[in-house]
Each structure stands twice: as C-alpha cells, then as structure tokens.
Amino acid sequence: MPRFRVASVAALAFAIAPDAALAATPQIDTGDTAWMLVSTALVLLMTIPGLGLFYAGMVRKKNVLATLIQSFAICCIVSLVWMVAGYSLAFGTGTPWIGDFSRVMLHGIADHFHHGVDDAFVLGAGSSNPTVMTIPESVYMMFQMTFAIITPALIAGSFAERMKFSALCVFTVLWSLLVYAPVAHWVWSPIGWVGGFGAVDFAGGTVVHINSGIAGLVTALVIGKRNGYKQDDLSPFNLTYAIIGAALLWVGWFGFNAGSAGGANGRAGMAMLTTQVAAAAGGLAWMIAEWIHSRKPTALGIISGAVAGLVAITPAAGFVLPGAAVLIGLIAGGICFWASVILKHRLGYDDSLDAFGVHGVGGITGALLTGLFAYGPLSATDANPSGTVGSLVQFVRQAEAVGITIVWSVVVTYLLLKAIDLTIGLRVSREAELEGLDMVLHGERIN
C-alpha cells in the first residue's frame, strides 16, 4: 500500500458525511502541510550537508572536495530533472508500469489555486484508485524531490575517489529517469503494480535504499577497485566530518520517515519513535559486533551502525511497533557489519564507502522484516480495516518487491554504466586518481 493513501475519495465522503459538498472538494490541512514543509527541509538536510560530510570524511584528503561536490551537484541536477520529467514519470497517473507526461515541466501544478488558496490534490486522479491528499501538490512534489535527490547521491559512496565528474553528471540524469522514477511509480503510485500486489515500503527501503545500494554494488564492480586497494593507506581523511554527517543524517531521517506519514498525525509520531530506537539499536549492534570482532568500538563503527538501523527501519517505520523497531535495528546493525567488514573483503569488491553494505543490505533486511513485524492497526484505513499485518504471506510479497527492484536496478544500471564507459568514459586516469580528484577534476584543494 502506498504511504500516502490517506483515504479513498469514497471513504472520505463517508467519513465526513453528511456534508457531501466538502467531500467533493477536499481541503488542505494546514497542520499536515506545515509538517510536510518541515519534513521536506529535513530530508534535504540529509543530502547536503549530511551525506556530503558523511562520505567526505571517509575519503582521502585529496578527494574531499570532489566527494562533497558530488552530493551538491547531484542535488542541483536531480532538482531540475525531477521538475522536468521525473515527477511526472513517477507520480503522474499513467499505467501500473510508469507514470505519464501530464506533469512535465510541472505543467498544471498551479491548477488547484483558487483565489490564492491551494486545494488539496488527488494522487492518481482519474485512475481506479485515487488518493486524496491534505497537502498542496507543490509540497508533495517537493517532498518527493528530496527523495529523488538523495537516492543517486547514496550511490556515490560506492565509486568514491575514482569516477569522472562528467560521467557522474550524465549517470545521475539517466539513472533518475530510468531507474528511480519507474521504481518509485511501481511502489508508491496508487496504481503501481508492486504496491498493487500488496508489497509495502513506508519511506523508501525499496525505492531508495535497495535501489541505490544495488546500483552501488554494480557500479563498484563495473568501475573496478581503487588504485592501491588493500596495499596503500586509503584510511579516512577526517572522521569528525563523517560523524557530523551521520548525525545530520539521523536528524534528517525524521523528515524522511515521519514525513512519509503524509501529514502531522499519529502515524508520523510512531514513525519518528521507531526511527529513533532502530537507529540507536543499529549503532549499538555494530559497536558490540566490532568490539568483539576487532577488540575496539570505533567511531566509524557506531555511526555506520546507526545509519544501518535508520536504513532498515525506513520501509517499516509506519508499520511496526517500537519493540519490533529495536529488533530491526539490532539485526540490521549486525548484518550490515558483517556485509561491510567481512563479506566485502571476502568477495574482494571495492565498494569504497559501503553504499551496498549499509544501504543495500540494510534496505533488504528492513523490507523483509517489515513483512514479518507489520502491526495492522497502524496502517488500517476504512478501505482496508485490518491494515498491513505481518505474516509469511506478507514476507513473500516483500521478498518479491525486493527481487523486482534488484533485477531492475542491476540490469538498467549496468547498461547505463556500460554506455557511459563506451562514450565519455567512466573512470579517471591512473595518474589523475593518484593525484586526487580535487585538483585534477575541480582545480581546487584543501590545505
């Protein structure tokens, strides 16, 4: 069920009957709108500066600016790509497979304005399953834009320190349109086919984290290892940055998850609570695992674990109770530790900053556990009185959604990377990599 299915038109009419006139013109809720405005800003905080600093702190000094710029540039690029076509392809009504071109260049986004007041808009209008919103379309579109921004920015962790900036820019445009927008439509549009068979993703475990994590793994494999991998000192430049970045991610995640309730309501409150305890559990799980494994609980470890917990609770945040959230955080912290610290080195791929190890693996863990732990009343509506209930059946639906996302992300990401490699080239030269991307690509350096 898509997260914004507040109520169907018919159910809303029933709920506020007998005033049928009101039901016909659903109203903006100022409280909901205020919270969604705040949430949108919080999600943007996750990318610039949160993810930027998180990643920049983990690369070497000669690549710090290049890494920070990647997040910033992706923000600029996707903002416009989303405006031009991404939003329309993802959330235009269209078919179960893809949206339409009705909102290209945000055409018609001011149609709801009457005397300067914005009417609520209907997501999936004209389809068999319209969803009435209590916020303006501009806010909904902008909130979704921040998700579209952070997703390709997450991938950048896998190819840090070696990708050409031009390749990154082209990849971001194409990946946003060909991978992100379709998957967002499948999962979150009221008529999307993945949501249609009952798979749920509250705030982007599948759309954002699995999608980006898998794309990250593919990119790491296609682009190859960094020069000096397992030989030279590739240790982080400044973990203080990484800690600040992770802390900003944590704070911003409240907008990500509690904002995905679509309004200021009990579900948003519960999502905020589950987010907090899952992040805490994830941080402690990684810390303890590392303490046992290598005898020291590191700063990088505890922040990585907290991010793993945040990732894993993302699909579940509005579906599970706090106890289950702690369990999800603990499991994700442990599994992501294993994936990033042990599995990666055993398999030998160079996912520089563990985009796959944390986001891919954490997202899969969270998406599957959502199917087991979902507590019905949290998502119940008049149209669906029992809500999404944890069960083996739901677990299988989740697994199907995970599988579909993985296949699409692997195939299209791979083709895109190969096409870019054959045309403008994907990777900087060996000399450029040794000198550092800051100076070679951007003509700047930190002292």
Binding site: D233, L234, S235, P236, T298, S304, S340, K344
Partner: protein, 112 residues
C-alpha cells in the same frame, strides 16, 4: 657540551619537561615529527580494512647541555618518557662544538 636529542611519545612531553626543569636545563626545543623505529609503524582498521601507517606521530626534543649534567639529563628523560610499551622512542647524544647566544654574542657554556 652535548646536544641531547630525544624522540618521545607526544603525550610524554609535559612529563619530560617537568622532570628536566629542576636539573638546571635552560632551554628546550620541541618539534612535532613523524617516523618509525623497529616497530615499523602500526596497523589501523576501518570497516574491516587494514591500513598500515608507516610514520607515527612523535615529538623531538633538543637540549644543549653542559658535560656536567648530560648523564643526569639522559637518565631523567629515560625515566620520564618511559611507558614500557613499544614505541617509547630513542635518545641520541652528540658532541656540540659551538653555542652562540644571538642577543649577546656570548659563546660556550655561558650561552646555554
């Protein structure tokens, strides 16, 4: 006159300075340096990846002293900079031919 050069762990600097003051050591030059000895650096682990750090941060102290107190100075540094763990550092004692105080042009032990 001798030049005593001691490579020590950075956090031992204050201990060494406090121990030397009562001996009548007049001046002391401190430099932050990096290097390695028999230990050949150390290994750090980030997310499971081991990185070998060849050059470890150390502090170099240089002290010009008269022959009369050189043994006492060396012994004091040995005690104050000692932790018993690997990487405590080294002391080099070398002859010092001339010392000149720039302000007064004094030379020899009078300039120390």
């Amino acid at each position: 006159m001798k030049l005593v050069t001691a490579i020590i762990k950075p956090f031992k600097l204050d201990d060494v300075r406090e121990a030397l003051t009562p001996l009548g050591v007049q001046g002391l030059t401190v430099t932050e340096i990096r290097g390695f000895g028999r230990q050949k650096g150390q290994t750090e682990i980030y997310r499971g990846a081991e990185y070998h750090v060849s050059f470890l941060p150390k502090v170099k102290i240089e002290i010009a002293v008269s022959e009369a107190i050189v043994d006492e100075v060396v012994e004091t540094i040995l005690s104050a900079a000692h932790t018993g763990k690997i990487g405590d550092g080294k002391i080099f004692v070398s002859p010092l031919d001339r010392v000149i105080r720039i302000r007064t042009r004094e030379t020899g032990e009078g300039a120390l």
